[in-house]
């Protein structure tokens, strides 16, 4: 292609750098007493690998902001929204009961606040993600959390991934907390496979654009069949 006349050529100073479009993700992890031992170790290892995988992906690295809410005894934010590269290590301790209603409410509030931050800064974002991992049943009232999540899911303002771990997980309560989305049951302690699938899925969304049907990866080695 011939070189254009200098005054018609596009110069680097002519361009606005395209701002990142963010994908906010909150992972709510059940760290109650029943997760003690191998489950909590595998969960922590899976999360560490999750951060490494997201950081290694060109598309997901810039777009994904990940927060983690721990539900064990109480619900608390153990990692605020940040890119995967900002601190891969999250300390999780198993213990206490499972106030999952409180945890999910906290996660939804985090996402709402983050969306407001994006909007206030003129930044675009994808539909937020909420991942819920639990091996039991909630020990606190969940009605308000269920209603809020159901409302957001119905309005297509939230994507929820409920995952039950272990044989004692209450699938019906988890489905209600996930706004009616059917939970998947984790195969054994395949947290790493689950998080690998999540990071690959986040990569797909990060490079999607208007009108793109988002087809998530179909490798479900982490799901118990």
């Amino acid at each position: 292609m011939p070189t254009p006349r200098p005054d018609l050529a596009v110069r680097p100073t002519d361009l606005t750098p395209s701002p990142t479009t963010f994908l906010p993700v909150v992972v709510v992890v059940d760290t109650s007493g029943s997760m003690e031992g191998a489950p909590i170790r595998e969960l922590a290892a899976g999360i560490e690998q999750f951060f490494r995988d997201v950081d290694a992906d060109e598309d997901a690295r810039e777009a994904c902001e990940i927060a983690i809410v721990e539900v064990g005894g109480e619900a608390r934010v153990v990692r605020g929204f940040a890119p995967a590269r900002d601190g891969a290590r999250v300390c999780l301790d198993a213990g206490g009961v499972t106030p999952m209603g409180e945890g999910v409410t906290l996660a939804v509030e985090l996402l709402e606040r983050r969306k407001r931050d994006y909007s206030a800064s003129g930044l675009r974002y994808f539909q937020p993600w909420l991942v819920i991992l639990t091996d039991g049943k909630p020990t606190d009232p969940t009605t308000a959390a269920e209603a809020r999540v159901a409302e957001l899911v119905k309005a297509r303002k939230l994507t929820v991934f409920p995952v039950a771990t272990g044989p004692d997980a209450d699938l019906a309560r988890l489905e209600a907390l996930a706004g009616g989305v059917k939970p998947a049951r984790l195969a054994g302690l395949a947290f790493r496979e689950l998080f690998r699938w999540l990071s690959a899925s986040m990569s797909v969304v990060s490079r999607s654009r208007a009108g793109t049907g988002v087809a998530l990866p179909s490798s479900f080695a982490w799901i118990e069949t």
């Binding site: 011939p2 254009p4 050529a9 596009v10 680097p12 606005t16 750098p17 395209s18 049907g213």
Partner: protein
């Protein structure tokens, strides 16, 4: 002194985005332009989820450009509701036909659509989906139509619409003070009319003004080539998406070199270009009430030659 004669010029280009290139996919932005008495440009960005996104974008742009060229006067005179119905009917019908021909679902041909048509006195622009339309008014670039996105980044609206009260936004008006338009798909808008850092306000790139101004002195094909080079080079580096741009302007004769004259006068030979140029200048100098005989005298040509060249100039859209 008679006002200078003008003709509508529309140029454009597209470039495949890095994301599509990496996956070996086609560019799904399509541009179609036509100059003349009614200069028309249309851009469409095939929906990422559509199996025949590029074909859908082609069909939509062909349908709208053909309609605007053929019925611009009717559409403007009929008012916004009439124009909206006519445009959506034409585009939807073309997509229906193509879907039936290739055995595809309508959603497989979905695309956004941006267009503008302009004659000497009026313009008509329309926008459905993301991307944006800019206008040059009193020498300054202004946003005419902002992107229509949903709350989330990968949501927008498309043709075919199948909706009486569709999301198509129409803009019509007089060309007084308006002397250029630009259409940008979302990928191109990222860099060429992007958000100021930390703000929701968009800002036009200075190169848009240079492209508009360039049409006053450079052959249209040279401006088109510069747009294409820009999209394939620096613009593509600030977005992963496909990029499409169309620039429309009514231009006067007389500035620029022989190559520009040749393009604006119908890509004829050098001798014919010189003769046609003489006819155009003589016609222009004679004012609105001039005659063919007076034009022939002023140009130093025979009446037959003047008639032949004036007919050609009229077909090319010089008014």
């Amino acid at each position: 002194m008679a006002p200078p004669l003008h003709v509508g010029v529309a140029v454009g280009a597209t470039a495949r985005g890095r994301s599509h290139e990496r996956r070996g996919a086609l560019c799904e932005d399509v541009v179609r332009t036509a100059g003349g008495p009614v200069a028309v440009a249309a851009l469409a960005d095939g929906a990422g989820s559509a199996r025949h996104a590029r074909r859908g974008a082609e069909v939509a742009t062909i349908a709208v450009v053909d309609l605007l060229r053929a019925r611009f006067v009717d559409l403007v005179a009929g008012g916004p509701r009439f124009a909206r119905d006519a445009i959506l009917s034409a585009v939807d019908a073309a997509i229906d036909e193509e879907a039936a021909r290739i055995g595809a679902a309508l959603r497989d041909l979905a695309s956004t659509l941006l267009f503008v048509a302009v004659d000497r006195d009026r313009f008509l622009a329309g926008h459905l989906g993301d991307g944006l339309i800019g206008v040059r008014r009193a020498g300054r670039a202004e946003l005419l139509s902002a992107p229509a996105n949903g709350e989330h980044a990968n949501e927008t609206v498309f043709v075919p619409t199948r909706s009486g009260d569709s999301d198509l936004r129409l803009y019509a008006g007089a060309t007084t003070g308006v002397d250029g338009f630009v259409l940008l798909t979302d990928g191109a808008a990222d860099g060429l009319w992007g958000l100021r850092p930390g703000s929701t306000a968009r800002e036009p790139s200075p190169v848009l003004e240079r492209w508009w101004a360039g049409l006053d002195t450079a052959p249209p094909s040279e401006v088109a080539a510069a747009i294409e080079a820009g999209l394939r080079g620096p613009v593509r580096e600030v977005t992963r998406d496909d990029c499409g741009v169309a620039v429309v302007r009514r231009v006067a004769f007389g500035c620029g070199g022989a190559a520009r004259s040749r393009e604006l006068l119908g890509r004829c030979g050098r001798r014919a270009t010189r003769t046609r140029s003489r006819v155009l200048r003589a016609w222009s100098a004679g004012g609105p009430d001039t005659t063919i005989q007076a034009t022939a005298r002023r140009a130093g040509l025979t009446v037959t030659a003047v008639v032949k060249h004036l007919a050609k100039l009229e077909r090319l859209g010089w008014t």
